[in-house]
């Protein structure tokens, strides 16, 4: 056997052992409380790319790869709902070529992960794209409809992709919907409008998402930046991690899950 052959065999063996250790770790974690709903604000793709002298669009591509890995981890842990912030309404202010590249990425990759045999069908994940869809180019809207259609029958888990999204827009829409529903039903007793009714009409709730347990923002920025403000302002653990999104992995995620478990156990003992 030649040296390259031995090296290749060793690398494969190490990769296999690593994969088995990850499976074991996830199995151990699953013995404790698992969050129902985790949100990721996937920040830092462009800065990650700049670190290696590449273009912003390459960082977004790396970020999509990380999204698939993190999503798979969440599915293996039986996290019922994952929400990701893919594109903010304010992101239309970015350079046009970057916006076009992001639209192209969304168009191609959403359909890719929704296809038969791909990640979403493998784990029975229903895709919901949340946001002000009319702001997107028509070809992207068509791709979203197609991807959502492919996964509509899935019911084991939910992936919410927020694009283009802004929390204030979501809250405004929920309030408008509630008011319009009351007018349509000719139910003019405004006391019937409660926080609960508004919460039920948020985009996340309409898609079947449970309350948000964990909110994670990467890249060290310590703001919500218009993501899930209603959902995360109460009873949600917020983690602002310094890692750029393409680098986010188990090393960052496991401590977050352990913190969640500590909270659930503390609440049970109280």
């Amino acid at each position: 056997m030649t040296w390259p052959g031995i090296l290749g065999w060793t690398v494969s063996l190490l990769a296999f052992i690593k994969a088995q250790l990850v499976i074991l770790l996830l199995h151990v974690l699953s013995a404790g409380p698992i969050p129902r709903h985790v949100a990721f604000e996937m920040d830092g793709n462009r800065r990650f790319a700049r670190l290696t002298g590449r273009r912003a669009v390459d960082g977004h591509s790396d970020g999509f790869h990380t999204l698939k890995q993190v999503l798979e981890t969440c599915m293996r842990l039986n996290i019922h709902c994952v929400t990701v912030y893919a594109f903010a309404i304010e992101n239309f202010n970015r350079p046009p070529d970057e916006v076009d590249a992001l639209m192209k990425l969304a168009e191609e990759r959403l359909v890719e992960i929704a296809q038969n045999g791909a990640l979403l069908s493998q784990y029975g994940v229903r895709l919901n794209v949340l946001g002000h869809r009319k702001l997107l180019p028509v070809h992207v809207q068509v791709a979203i409809d197609k991807a959502e259609g492919m996964t509509r029958q899935n019911n084991r888990a939910i992936l919410n992709v927020c694009a283009p999204y802004a929390s204030r827009h979501e809250m405004t829409l929920a309030v408008q919907t509630v008011v319009q529903q009351a007018l349509d039903k000719e139910s003019f007793d405004s006391l019937l409008i409660t926080e609960q009714i508004i919460e039920e009409n948020l985009m996340t709730s309409l898609g079947g998402s449970p309350p948000l347990d964990i909110f994670i923002r990467t890249s060290g920025v310590k703001r919500l930046s218009g993501f899930l403000q209603w959902q995360c302002c109460e009873n949600t653990q917020i983690h602002m991690v310094n890692t750029y999104w393409p680098d986010f992995g188990l090393w960052d995620f496991v401590p977050i899950l352990l913190d969640y478990q500590r909270k659930v156990w503390a609440q049970s003992s109280n």
């Binding site: 408008q176 509630v178 003019f188 405004s190 006391l191 218009g226 109460e234 949600t236």
Partner: protein, 298 residues
């Protein structure tokens, strides 16, 4: 069973690592800049969330919250921050707003000149102010809805008089930030999601009355402007602090608020003052805000 045992071991290892790294980081903390030092960015509107996990001693919690607030008001005035929102979920501060008013009136922690501060309450639910923080913030307007915001405006006595006072001007030059008026908003969870529900009820009532098209919530907001910066402070710190939570702070206002959590350096019965927010912690927070980058979607 075996998995549970391994999970317990994992938690033990994690807790030990967090404890050790926290202790190691404490030794390496550099002192922050002083309160009145120059900072490239200063929040125009600061929010402070006061947190307590001690439901058994509400009186003690009330005292801690009030003392923290009085301190933060003093530091805001000294550093030039113009608006402060104080929030606690249970409404402890709202419940003792009269006592707070009295303490702020009598508090004298600043170098003085001929002017004195006097506290003035607006007579009606407070008018909203246009937020200067972000171009994305919606326009504010009058909004006759119960938004549960108590606003205390601190004015300088004689501010409406325009007599030239040369001695006062000379003195004032040495205290660049020391006497800027401060607007204090005191809120609780009732100003949070409940306020949005209240706004929705108003819209329905208005619609029923006027039979117009439903209006955009963006143009119907009022009562509490968005803070630029938020400090979360737990008056009962723990060795292994739990992750940050926002305890029901008004969600509408938090879109672009920079969030900071105070770090407690010494926790335990040896240091009973650990519960109160320190000037060092406040300055460290301001230093962090000054270093934050705002891309606003770009």
């Amino acid at each position: 069973m075996v998995a549970s045992l391994f999970l317990w071991l994992l938690h033990l290892v994690h807790a030990s690592l967090v404890f050790l790294t926290t202790k190691f980081r404490k030794r390496r903390y550099l002192p922050p800049q002083s309160l009145t030092a120059y900072r490239s960015k200063l929040p125009k509107h600061l929010a402070i969330i006061l947190v307590s996990h001690d439901a058994a001693n509400p009186k003690h919690t009330e005292e801690l919250f009030m003392e923290c607030l009085v301190r933060v008001v003093k530091w805001c005035k000294a550093s030039g921050i113009e608006q402060l929102t104080a929030y606690d979920a249970e409404g402890t501060l709202l419940g003792c707003s009269d006592i707070i008013k009295e303490r702020l009136t009598h508090h004298d922690g600043l170098p003085t000149d001929e002017s004195e501060s006097e506290v003035e309450y607006p007579l009606t639910p407070p008018l909203s102010e246009a937020s200067e923080s972000r171009s994305h913030s919606p326009d504010f307007g009058d909004f006759p809805v119960q938004l549960n915001v108590t606003t205390v405006c601190s004015f300088r006595k004689g501010a409406s008089h325009h007599r030239p006072r040369e001695v006062a001007v000379r003195r004032r030059a040495h205290h660049k930030h020391s006497h800027k008026p401060l607007t204090l908003h005191i809120i609780s969870r009732s100003a949070s999601k409940a306020a949005i529900a209240s706004a929705a009820r108003f819209l329905l009532d208005e619609e029923v009355c006027r039979r117009q098209n439903s209006q955009d919530l963006d143009h119907k907001e009022g009562g509490l402007p968005s803070p630029d910066f938020m400090i979360v402070h737990d008056v009962h710190p723990q060795d292994l602090p739990p992750p940050l939570e926002l305890h029901g702070f008004p969600p509408w206002q938090m879109a672009f608020t920079e969030i900071h959590r105070t770090i407690v350096h010494d926790v335990g019965p040896k240091n009973p003052m650990a519960s109160l927010i320190t000037e060092e912690a406040f300055c460290r927070a301001l230093d962090e805000y000054a270093g934050a980058q705002f891309r606003l979607g770009r």
